[in-house]
Symmetry: D2
Subunit: 376 residues, 4 copies
């Protein structure tokens, strides 16, 4: 071959359509003073046009700001049957925001950021896994420590140190938790049995005080812990329900299990049907619905499923490390949820592929905590 | 620099310890006739010394074979209080094997392989998520189809086609499911209320027939579906409990939610405390315990947590795509569970980093299905 | 809310389009005798309809079979200028198959499978990284061993044991490699300098024997090693070029570096321009082009880039663990390559998300090694 | 079982060692004013104790600050043979910092941040892939645009739009690149051939001006582009070599390929042996060596391999999304490099598991760009 075939040059030097009206990829302009020790909002503004997940992080901020600031009509201007969902302090409709997080985020230092959101009523309902409940309570009793991913399990077990990624929780913390929770479970069982005795055959009817659910127990735990550092405390105080259908799947489950022996033949029950009624009703009642889902698994599916009841959420932000190729719900993109009617076709949605701890502090600093809220 | 410094040559040509007694990396010997259109056991034997995840897949087979074939004493040789756990058909102790899987695996063609294990009593208990229950039932009513990961959600929603990775489930299937399950829920509610009426204040005591749990409802669904292609059917028939603490988190939850309106003010309840008692008891009763966990999230944690009650499982096989760097339980290696006492320090364990569908058919073919079992 | 709003039931029970002509998800039929200790082709046939990556693995087999078996015209029926590309032993056109693999696969037990492909002329050209060249040679001198991912680096360095994932290579192996390769480099340098002296100012012209390239040096190494267990040996013998533009990036680079001191002021040169001419020409000359790319990074991009010269490959199989979210070429799906003209729009392509070692032995067993080839 | 066996309570309530001297997990204190619209250094300080990858991001900042600020002796206090490596403007030893990045980062908005580092001499040498060279040049000729990961390849090809993740590069940009680079290649070839003619048989000796290498050509391209927005421009101006052993693997390779036809029978050659001599010498000459590696593949291995020549780097920061389970070098943790002698056993090192774009802007803002440097 002595001459370059046209095939090759045509393939390489193919002409292209004009897309000069598209957004140009751009980065930080270091000529600006704001490019040094950057502030969260400036960093996010610059990341918007960087591409890859930097752009996704910035899009997450846009969506969160929109769901946080959306306002509808004043309650007085609504017909009776539409006076549902969330309202701001002036009586104007706002979005119902569902926040989901996996338990490891409560174990991590993100707990303070999650509490901040609950304390300042930035979210309307929470879905968590059991560890996300108990670790919040346990941290009120004793601290969690930094460790390393590579510490050998056998040596740690000998020392009674439980590893969560690069964190360590001394087993002593769970002993303290047991001491704290057993009296609470005793009281709750007492209340259950008293209500059954009083109500008779109607004890298990809808909204019966004899029926304890995960969300009701979690609310009580938040009341009992009475600690301003706790997510559960503020959820109780601000009437933000925390749903945890598999509440038995963790240390709380261990304690409930132990309690079945202590209380036998009496037994506390936790009903999950009443909680599905409750969360689904919140989704249906919402004037607008937003989802912020940190991590995958149950917390992701549960919020999406509730939003199916309203034919889809209006905003969705997913942040996790799951991938779609294995067909897991954890890894599914928002577009899969659209096929199910869990996110509206015209909703704004984004998935950020990241360990939540790397991006959530920045995202909150540039949105919910861009300015200090008025004192609570 | 005109002469090579000793530093560089010393660093590159450093002497090494003798490890000629270690296993050599080797592959397939294509001189053998068995290297063509290989059989599962030959393939696994060759993969053992290939390294990376090929070795992990082969190790998983070794562990599974060991947990499947372990035998202890004859029941007649055991003191009364040790006559717990699983026994083979001749009365000899065998391991209690916990199988966990995420719902997508039932949606996939692995359902048949999972059913095979249940049909032939290869496992003792199952932990699944809600989708893993309902998709098994729904597949008895209508098929799931192959699609693609990239099909756009909005167009699919218009056509009522729900996407699960590269699978499609027509929404019609869920309509059929509703028709099938509502009468079942009616009957179950009837039974619950009758038992309450009969038992009075003791209705919620331990082991009360008035108390329905997820595992009890799933067992009933398996009985009702009465279809030999169903995992639930064989679980019911072989008395293999299926635990699903968050049973409301899926289409079954939608149906239970709808049913709360239909039945109002009566309401079916599903108690998760009695189920944690049940699964934990199985773990404690086991003479040996093995875990096979396909996927992450709740199903993984729930089995591990149960095995903590016995101070650790004796064998563990994890297969999933989760990574440990984000501190998720899904991504945690077996060694993290050892720190918690969920796997024994001297247990054999392995994590295979793979989409389950790529390796599980091969693993089963080389272990549980290496030879055809006697007819059931 | 006492009545279920139509919104919820309409969303959940939405009607769907009929897709009963789509392929149904199905698994293994354990009623068949072939379902036990399954053969590779039976396993792959069953995986085709399982969904997720099982289906992708099966699709990879379909594509590989197609690119392997494609035949065009007899060379005698072609005009002179079209008598390029690959022909089978009867003189009929066949596809030019580019095989790429990362170095770790040669370190693993897959080396034997890769050698099998080269030995039996299943591929037309190879792209590898430096480690993929040297580890093949080193394995002819001393073995690699199985280790573990968690062995601590500091202790290994003290013992002179180099870790590659869960493999160990004693540093002694590299010392043996140095002893073996230095005389070869001496001879090659001698040949280079002799040719320069002979050719004078035209020494660096096209196709000058004075110009050594990575592919030419690798061919010589294959000739020198003279070992039937070697990939390079068979590549040399079967005239299958191995491209490795960054041949200096590994132990061979260390040796070339050392050699610059030994030979000073003379120096061996390796020209990468002549190699890009060579690989691109192969792509342009191909009557059909297939790509099999195991792993990511340079080997993936280099093959795709060559196929751009022909306006796209006709078949493409990627197997790796990379993800697209970070915009890396490693993680890019085949569809990204279509946008560049590196894969034809109507080509058959698939990406399998897997560690190559978990699926490649099975894939080869069901395709290239489904039957034993005639003796070489 | 009517009584809780001691086994379970002992396992759950096991006592633990005291680790109260370990660092406690803590998050952001929202009582502080600095917790709102946080500045980079405050955010990083808070992330340090958050765990998971937040801690890794903060550790990366600690390491980077240390490698950037390390100072040794004044050059006048050093014996002649130790006057190698890098010195600051006052003549005091500083660390040699190797920066590696994959091409997609230059395509993204990170290019400006990478240029900032080069412009202000924060790094001593760069290793990049071919795309990382040409995209920097092409951006001087025409912009790259934001697109989406899901845009279909076939339609894009029709429009001549090349996709890189969620970025789009019009093919027109490559046409402009061809126009720009061909005259440069003409001149370089001219210079090569003139030097050969002048030098005769010694033309290929060490340090011959007749020998062009990838790093030498890249330096020339930086000089020719003469644009302050370019990474290459500043690398040329600040004498920071850019190594790219596989420079032919991209559009530059296409151009060099085309040029072989245009120039035939003359041919420009690019020698990679002289470049391995050059980068390895830099590593050996360094008084201290730091590695900052963004992405995986060749750029990661090449820097690590160079540092083996000095028996290990003193600091190492990896940021990428690769995982170790497949035995890839891309996914290998720093501890694997320690086993090879590429990182010192007592070095400070960290791997951050993240898409570089999500964390690098923040990391730079908290380290290299924590304060504005003096004007250049």
């Amino acid at each position: 071959m002595v001459k370059l075939p046209a095939l090759a040059s045509d393939a390489v030097l193919k002409k292209s359509a004009d897309i000069s009206n598209f957004t140009k990829v751009e980065g930080i302009n270091y000529a600006d003073d704001s490019a040094y020790n950057m502030k969260a909002t400036d960093l996010i503004a610059a990341m918007k046009t960087m591409g890859f997940q930097a752009s996704s992080v910035a899009t997450a901020c846009v969506i969160i700001t929109e769901m946080d600031s959306w306002r509808g009509k004043h309650i007085d201007d609504l017909p009776e049957h539409e006076r549902t969902g969330m309202f701001d302090e002036t009586g104007v409709q706002r979005a119902t925001v569902f926040l989901g997080f996996t338990s490891n985020l409560i174990s991590s230092g993100l707990r303070d950021t999650l509490r901040y959101l609950v304390q300042h009523k930035k979210v309307s309902a929470i879905v968590a896994t059991a560890g996300g409940i108990e670790e919040d309570l346990i941290k009120c009793l004793a601290p969690t420590y930094l460790g390393e991913f590579t510490l050998p399990g056998s040596a740690l077990r000998d020392q009674g140190l439980n590893r969560i990624g690069n964190l360590l929780v001394p087993n002593e913390n769970y002993c303290k938790f047991e001491e704290w929770i057993v009296p609470v479970l005793d009281r709750v069982l007492e209340e259950q049995d008293r209500a059954i005795a009083e109500l008779g055959p109607e004890a298990l009817h809808a909204d019966s005080p004899a029926v304890w659910t995960p969300s009701r127990l979690v609310d009580r735990l938040g009341q009992e812990i009475d600690d301003e550092l706790s997510v559960l405390y503020w959820a109780h105080r601000n009437k933000i329900p925390i749903f945890c259908p598999a509440l038995t799947d963790g240390s709380i489950g261990d304690m409930l299990f132990f309690h079945t022996f202590k209380a036998s033949p009496r037994r506390l029950h936790l009903d999950i049907v009443s909680d599905i009624r409750r969360i689904n009703s919140m989704a249906m009642d919402a004037s607008r619905a937003g989802m912020i889902i940190l991590g995958g698994g149950l917390v992701k599916h549960h919020i999406c499923n509730a939003c199916l009841m309203r034919n889809g959420a209006d905003w969705a932000v997913y942040i996790n490390t799951g991938q779609e190729f294995d067909g897991s719900d954890a890894g599914a993109r928002p577009d899969e949820a659209i096929s199910w009617g869990k996110i509206k076709a015209d909703a704004k949605s984004v998935k950020v592929y990241a360990d939540v701890t790397t991006v959530w502090p920045l995202i909150v600093a540039a949105t919910f905590a861009a300015t200090r809220p008025a004192a609570v």
